[in-house]
Amino acid sequence: MASRRQLLRWSAALGAPIVFPVPSGIVPLALAQADVGKPGLKTLSGRPLNMETPAHLLDDEATPGHAMFVRNNGALPDSVDPADWRLEITGLVETPLSLSIADLKTQFEAVRYRLQMECGGNGRAFFSPGASGNQWTFGAIACPDWTGVRLRDVLRAAGVKDSAVYTGHYGADLHLSGDPDKPPISRGVPIAKAMEEHSLIAWAMNGADMPFVNGHPLRLVIPGWPGSCSQKWLTRIDVRGQVHDGPKMGGQSYRVPAYPVAPGAEVPDDDMVIIESMPVKSLITFPQTGVRRSAGAAFELRGHAWAGDRAVQAMDVSIDFGRSWQRADLAAPVNRYAWQRWRTQITLPQAGYYELWARAADNSGNTQPPVPPDWNPRGYLNNMQHRIAVVAL
């Protein structure tokens, strides 16, 4: 017999009481943890499923599906059928639309862009005092090639009214309590962001189906802004006449203080503002932290850098805890909102312990601090420098 404790757990998770005793060893199918095809990622939480990518698995130019981080506020949809999928466009539009994925593919121009997506809470683990939420370190960032249609083309087909100010996004994921009427998360963006050339309704990643846990068969990609703007398993876009007020839009979710606050401060909700662009940031993706290298011999150090709505202008690395910096080669993005490849040759002068630090600068004069900046109650927007440990022999 299952214990009372297991029954309580299952009952709550399934949203309905289990009235019959469950035979020992049988786990309700809905709770079975599937292999989600993400080898090497660190699971921060099984339910809701949250997984972070170690930096060295992000070395590809375009992030493969198996390496993309997973962020969920709710439970995965029970099942998805691309052939039956519908996307509704509702709210302040002249003509509400109900589109199949085939409609999207045939009625609008398909485009493919490499677009960064980063969780707003990436880096939360380093804030002190700590902030509640998933304790992401560096790995809640990905930059795959996305294929889809421009969100603006679809919104224009529906005819956005002049009174529209914001979008509200809805997906097929489920509230953790099992309540079917409760969206686990519904965020949105200002109409101007939705109308940008690179804001997509995407059905493919790197030319193939995207992983189910990353939103297959349809998701939004709103590049440069917190990933929560890019609703997964997208079912509806509601055009609003006010700033969207769905779950995780208000209070302290995805919002930061309007002014600098002391670490640990209680900040009133009214003084919090919605996060828009993510900050300038970079990763060392090769080599992996912990390697040994020969003293006096040059080796390549490389990674990616990105800057939300802006572009990265310069990239520097340090082998001496930031006392001195050397300039790295920095490639242009393949398109706006793609991360930028940087690389340089490093020589460690003598045997010893080194930390290699990376620091990007954007085209607005912002760079990355060595410590977490701008403490905020929920631990967002930490763009501190990434480092790896290397021993020279």
Binding site: S45, G130, Q135, R292, A389
Partner: protein, 161 residues
């Protein structure tokens, strides 16, 4: 706080940081660390080179973020890797066995895995606000007379500092 450090994982993490800080205690712990990245020596090593290799075996494979940010509070584990570890094979997922661990397991694991509880770094006030948010808006059953014990447990083991 002492109970926290009885976990083997924490003992190892603390031992490793102590080793890197004061260059002590290489031994068995250190031997496992850099092995997969060994550089094969091309020539016979000098005594000094051999000494350096032995010394460096205990050095960290991760950068020293914890040392940097815990300088003022050297005994306070601020990184999740140094806290009570989630253990899926354990009946109570690795919850420290003090106080209200059974209540925490029963109330929290109905909706989400205990892994999400155990990685939190939240103050008592923040834990209280989270419970209120969950009961008022997320369909959590009210804790009523259990709330004080649950909050005490959460704030003690999964605190902001």
């Amino acid at each position: 706080m002492n109970a926290l450090f009885q976990k083997p994982g924490q003992a190892i993490a603390i031992a490793l940081i102590a080793a890197s800080a004061v260059l002590l205690g290489a031994g068995v712990l250190g031997a496992a660390r850099f092995e997969s990245h060994e550089v094969k020596p091309a020539l016979p090593l000098t005594a000094a080179q051999q000494r350096f290799r032995e010394l460096s075996r205990s050095w960290p494979t991760e950068p020293t973020y914890a040392l940097t940010f815990d300088a003022r509070y050297p005994s306070s584990p601020s990184l999740t890797s140094m806290r009570a570890a989630f253990d899926p094979s354990d009946d109570y997922s690795g919850l420290p066995r003090t106080g209200a661990y059974e209540l925490v397991d029963a109330y929290c694991s109905g909706c989400h895995s205990l892994q999400i509880v155990m990685q939190q770094r939240a103050s008592h006030a923040r834990w209280a606000a989270l419970i209120t948010w969950m009961t008022e808006t997320q369909n959590m059953p009210p804790l009523e007379e259990d709330e004080a014990a649950v909050l005490t447990y959460l704030a003690e083991h999964f605190s902001a500092n």
